[in-house]
C-alpha cells in the first residue's frame, strides 16, 4: 500500500473510532476526550503561526480569553447565542492579532523578542480584564448552566455528548483547513519565510503580508476555541484564562507532537492529556494529592522532547508506520 493510501486508511479508522466513542464509553472518558480535542484544536491553531510561519507566540491565551469573553459577554448581557457571538469574537481576535503582528513585523521584532512581546500583551490584558466590571472583573463571569438533557445547539446548552461532537467537528474542520493550507501557496510561502526570509523576499514573497496572514488566521482559530471554552465551562476568570500557563499548555501539544506537521498537535494533545490524567488518577488512588505534579510532568515531557526529539514524536511514528506527510 502506498504511503498516501496508508494515511487515508489510518485517518478513516481514527475518524470512525472518534465518532463511535461517546456511545461506548462513560462520562469521564468522554470529558477527557473532549479536553483532548480542545487542546488538539487550539494547538493546531497555534501551529499555524509557529509551525507554519515560524513565529513563536507565548501569549496565545490572549486569543482564547478574548474569544471567550466576547461570546460570553454577549450571551450574558444580551442573550446573543454563540453562533452569532463567534463572529464578533473572531473579529476582536483578528484585530488583536493584526495589531500585534503589525507592531512586531513593521518594527522588525522577531524570535525571542516577538515571544516576549506576545507575553507582554497577554499579561497586560489579563490585568486589564481584572478591572473590567462589565465582564465580571476578578470575580469572574458566569453563564447559567441549563438544559443539560437535550441538545440546544443554537445556544450550545446541552449534554456532554453534544459538546464532544461540536469539538470533534471543530477539530476535524481545523485539520482539513490546515491540510489545505499546507498544500496551497500559503504552505510553500510560509515554509520559505521560516527557512530564509531574505531568500523568500527575493522570490517575490511579501513576507510582511504572509506573516500577518498566519498571525491573523491563528488568532481567529484560537478565538473560536475560546468561544467553545466559555460555553463548555460556563465560567471565566481573567486570572485563569489569560494566564501564561494557559499559553504554555497550548504550545506543549504541537511541540511534543511535532511542529509544523498536521498530526503533531493532535498526537501531542493525546499523549499529554492521557499521560497527565493517568498520573493524576494513579496519585489519587495512592491517596496523594499534590498540586503541581501534572505541571512538572509537562515540563519534563517538554524537556525530553526538546533535547532528544526536536521535531516531535510524530515524524518518528510516521516513519515507523510507513506513512509520509504532505
Amino acid at each position: 500500500m502506498s504511503p498516501q493510501r496508508r494515511a487515508y486508511v489510518l485517518l478513516a479508522i481514527i475518524a470512525a473510532a472518534l465518532i463511535v466513542l461517546p456511545f461506548v464509553s462513560g462520562s469521564y472518558v468522554l470529558s477527557v476526550a473532549t479536553l483532548i480535542l480542545f487542546f488538539a484544536f487550539t494547538g493546531q491553531a497555534w501551529n499555524v503561526m509557529m509551525g507554519f510561519a515560524g513565529q513563536l507566540s507565548l501569549g496565545h491565551s490572549l486569543y482564547v480569553g478574548l474569544g471567550a469573553y466576547v461570546a460570553a459577554g454577549l450571551f450574558f448581557h444580551y442573550g446573543i447565542g454563540p453562533w452569532a457571538g463567534v463572529w464578533l469574537a473572531i473579529a476582536v481576535c483578528v484585530a488583536a492579532g493584526a495589531a500585534i503582528g503589525f507592531l512586531a513585523f513593521r518594527f522588525g521584532i522577531s524570535g525571542v523578542y516577538f515571544a516576549l512581546l506576545t507575553i507582554a500583551f497577554a499579561e497586560f490584558t489579563r490585568i486589564g480584564f481584572d478591572h473590567i466590571d462589565w465582564l465580571g472583573g476578578p470575580a469572574g463571569l458566569f453563564i447559567k448552566v441549563e438544559q443539560r438533557d437535550s441538545w440546544d445547539l443554537l445556544n450550545l446548552r446541552g449534554t456532554p455528548v453534544m459538546f464532544y461532537f461540536v469539538m470533534l467537528a471543530l477539530t476535524a474542520g481545523a485539520f482539513a483547513f490546515c491540510s489545505w493550507l499546507l498544500r496551497s501557496r500559503a504552505g510553500y510561502y510560509w515554509q520559505a519565510i521560516r527557512e530564509n526570509e531574505d531568500a523568500a523576499q527575493a522570490l517575490g514573497i511579501n513576507t510582511f503580508r504572509w506573516k500577518m496572514l498566519a498571525v491573523v488566521i491563528s488568532a481567529a482559530m484560537t478565538g473560536v476555541s475560546g468561544v467553545f471554552f466559555a460555553f463548555y465551562y460556563n465560567n471565566l476568570f481573567p486570572e485563569q484564562i489569560f494566564h501564561i500557563s494557559r499559553s504554555i499548555e497550548i504550545i506543549l501539544g504541537p511541540i511534543i507532537g511535532g511542529l509544523g506537521t498536521l498530526f503533531g498537535p493532535i498526537l501531542g494533545a493525546v499523549v499529554l492529556t492521557v499521560l497527565a490524567d493517568g498520573i493524576t488518577e494513579l496519585m489519587a488512588l495512592a491517596g496523594i494529592e499534590i498540586p503541581g505534579v501534572k505541571q512538572v510532568f509537562y515540563g519534563v515531557c517538554l524537556l525530553v522532547v526538546i533535547m532528544f526529539l526536536p521535531h516531535g514524536i510524530w515524524p518518528t511514528i510516521a516513519r515507523r508506520l510507513g506513512l509520509k506527510e504532505r
Partner: protein, 241 residues
C-alpha cells in the same frame, strides 16, 4: 534597447561611501558582467538594484519603469531574479519545492508551478536530487538550485552574484554553456558579478569595472582587459605602464 538603466547610484554606510555615481546600461537580451577587486561595491550595486536597500542617490529603471528603492519582493514581481553571493537555500525543503516557491511568483496554481519547477530542475541538472532536501546538496548543486529558483520567477533580468565561485573549471564551462543556451533560446537578460575571468570572457558582451565604489571602465571584454586603469587596479601601477 536598454532593459536595465542604472543612473548615478550611490550608497554610504556610516560615513563610508561604498558606491558613488555609478551608471551603466544593460541591453535587452544581452549578457553583461560587473567586475572589480573585492570591496569595489559590486554586491552593493546588486543590492540596490534588487531592492535590499535603497540608493542614497540616483535611479534604477527596468524596461522604462522606475524601480528605485522598491522592496525586494516588488523588484522580483517587476521582473528581476537574483542569486546570493552566499547561497540561501531553504534547507528543510526538497530541491523541487525550493524551485516551486520561485515558480509561484509566475504561476497562480500550485500544479502549474510544480510543472515549471520540474522543468527547471531538469535544465539545471538537479533532476536526480529533486526529492532530496536542499540541505543535502553540495555547493555546486546549491548554486545551481539558487539559479533554478531565481529563474523560476520568470524574470526578464537575472542577477547572478559570483555564481561561479568555488567551481572547478569543468563545472564553470558547464554553467557558461547553460547560461549561453538559455540566453540564446529565451532571450533572458543576464547581469553577472564575477571574479572568474574565464566565465566573464566567455559569457559577457559588455563589462563594467568598479573600483572603490566608482565605475572606472566599461566596454567589451577585450577592451576592458587592456584598459590601463583596469590593469592598474588589479595588478598595480607597473603593469599598467
Amino acid at each position: 534597447m536598454a532593459l536595465l538603466e542604472v543612473r548615478n547610484i550611490g550608497k554610504s554606510f556610516r560615513g563610508l561611501r561604498a558606491v558613488d555615481g555609478v551608471s551603466f546600461d544593460v541591453e535587452q537580451g544581452a549578457i553583461a558582467a560587473m567586475i572589480g577587486p573585492n570591496g569595489a561595491g559590486k554586491t552593493t550595486c546588486f543590492n540596490m538594484i534588487a531592492g535590499v536597500f535603497a540608493p542614497d542617490a540616483g535611479s534604477v529603471r527596468l524596461g522604462g519603469r522606475d524601480i528605485t528603492g522598491r522592496r525586494p519582493h516588488e523588484v522580483c514581481r517587476a521582473g528581476i531574479g537574483r542569486t546570493f553571493q552566499v547561497v540561501k537555500p531553504f534547507p528543510q525543503m526538497s530541491v523541487l519545492d525550493n524551485v516551486v516557491v520561485g515558480a509561484l511568483n509566475a504561476h497562480a496554481r500550485v500544479a502549474d508551478a510544480k510543472r515549471e519547477a520540474v522543468r527547471l530542475v531538469e535544465l539545471l541538472h538537479l533532476g536526480a536530487k529533486a526529492g532530496e532536501l536542499a540541505a543535502s546538496l553540495t555547493l555546486p548543486e546549491r548554486k545551481r538550485l539558487e539559479v533554478a529558483r531565481a529563474m523560476a520567477t520568470r524574470p526578464t533580468l537575472l542577477l547572478l552574484d559570483e555564481v561561479m565561485a568555488g567551481l572547478r573549471p569543468t563545472e564553470v564551462d558547464e554553467m557558461v554553456g547553460m547560461f549561453r543556451g538559455i540566453n540564446r533560446e529565451t532571450g533572458l537578460t543576464i547581469l553577472l558579478i564575477e571574479h572568474v575571468m574565464r566565465a566573464v570572457m566567455a559569457l559577457a558582451a559588455r563589462v563594467v569595472v568598479l573600483h572603490h565604489g566608482e565605475r572606472i571602465c566599461e566596454g567589451s571584454p577585450e577592451e576592458v582587459v587592456r584598459d590601463s586603469a583596469v590593469l592598474e587596479c588589479y595588478l598595480g601601477e607597473e603593469a599598467a605602464g
